[in-house]
Symmetry: C2
Subunit: 204 residues, 2 copies
DNA sequence: CACCCCATGTAAAGCGTTACATGATTGC
DNA sequence: GCAATCATGTAACGCTTTACATGGGGTG
């Protein structure tokens, strides 16, 4: 039920086609929501049926035609109503953590390999988010930005993404280190816990 | 598809009924997986059909009868095979963050209220996890524990839960503060960002 | 020539939640 | 008396993923 509102919120950043919305989801929205294209197209169809978005077909020359979606007044009203409703408690599902819970049944090297990959993935997302942050701030300090920017919503979620991936990367490094210790292995500089930047960074 | 493995892993901690498994999920497993009882009972039925768990009906006197499940050898084999398979990239879905992304459309007081509740929820989970941590460590240092404990899997995931909730609480406080700044509001000691403990705490 | 980008969808299958049903026992 | 705990499930519904279908244009 929340996908529809995630789509409406994403449309606040500007009209878009289904394809463009899918791309926004991959980048800015990824930190808090995700959906496959077929689900988005289906939901956009329902939103149109319900009058919450308006669709305009744009005929293109060297590209397939597309349908540009925009949020309607009814859509804004529905969104406002939903915004004040209580968010449901978040329930995480992490495939890797299930495996880590059974680490005592595994070859430690396999466990470490899983953790390294996850850490590297987190670090790459982290650097993407940090690049976006620089683009958004354009040299302003945070305090300055919070006062002068037109919108702050996407910045708040961006910072959440940074904190989230940072915590993830740090935990992976810690877990790798813990597994090594358990097995009495000497430290390996390539996987040694390296504090990327403490969480204080997130709060500052 | 991962619920079955989450159940198998949870059974490694000892045989249990569906009801007991549901309780374990609420406490120790909550940091990385969740499922409603009907889904668990259904999945346990399938696991039994596939021979991965064995069910023994226990007739009780003053309580309804129950079915105690235990992991079979085939179950262990299936689990081991799955443990080495690559974990799928984690995809978060956070209802609250969708709302925060639209914070510019909201009454700031409503946004702050949402964030406070989420923070308090995170803090309460945090203190539960910390209590469990104390029980598990029983006065030992972490290094000592990692060498002497029978299993470390559930400890590793517990620490993840602590880091996760800590990061969440900190971000909520930061976001509340950011919204106040945006509106030029003076600090209110009841919601002022309070560093519960930096992420270095998680790594130490 | 192969591959990725653009662009939208259908159909089927799988995963997950909610409502409902049942009923004794224990603690406040 | 009321609520919570113990204990297991069915049925209906909704959400989400995956496989498939289509086809031109740009890049190495």
């Amino acid at each position: 039920m929340s996908l529809r509102y995630a789509l409406l919120v994403t449309l606040l950043d500007g009209d878009a086609s289904g394809y463009e919305l899918a791309k926004r989801f991959d980048i800015r929205v990824a930190a808090y929501w995700h959906a496959q294209p077929p689900q988005m197209y289906a939901e956009l169809g329902k939103l149109e049926d319900d009058g919450l978005v308006h669709a305009e077909t744009v005929v293109q020359d060297r590209r397939p035609n597309k349908r540009m979606f925009s949020i309607t007044e009814a859509g804004q009203a529905a969104l406002h109503e939903w915004l004040v409703s209580p968010p449901r408690p978040l329930a995480t599902k992490d495939d890797l953590l299930v495996r880590v819970a059974a680490v005592d049944e595994m070859d430690p090297l396999v466990a470490i390999d899983h953790l390294r990959r996850r850490r590297d993935h987190a670090l790459s997302k982290l650097s993407t988010y940090r690049e976006i942050e620089q683009l958004v701030l354009r040299g302003r300090t945070e305090v300055d930005y919070l006062h002068t920017a037109r919108h702050i919503g996407s910045y708040l979620t961006l910072v959440k993404g940074i904190g989230y991936e940072l915590e993830r990367a740090d935990w992976c490094n810690w877990a790798i280190h813990a597994i090594r210790q358990r097995h009495g292995w000497t430290a390996d500089p390539t996987t040694e816990p390296q504090m990327t930047a403490a969480a204080t960074d997130v709060v500052t």
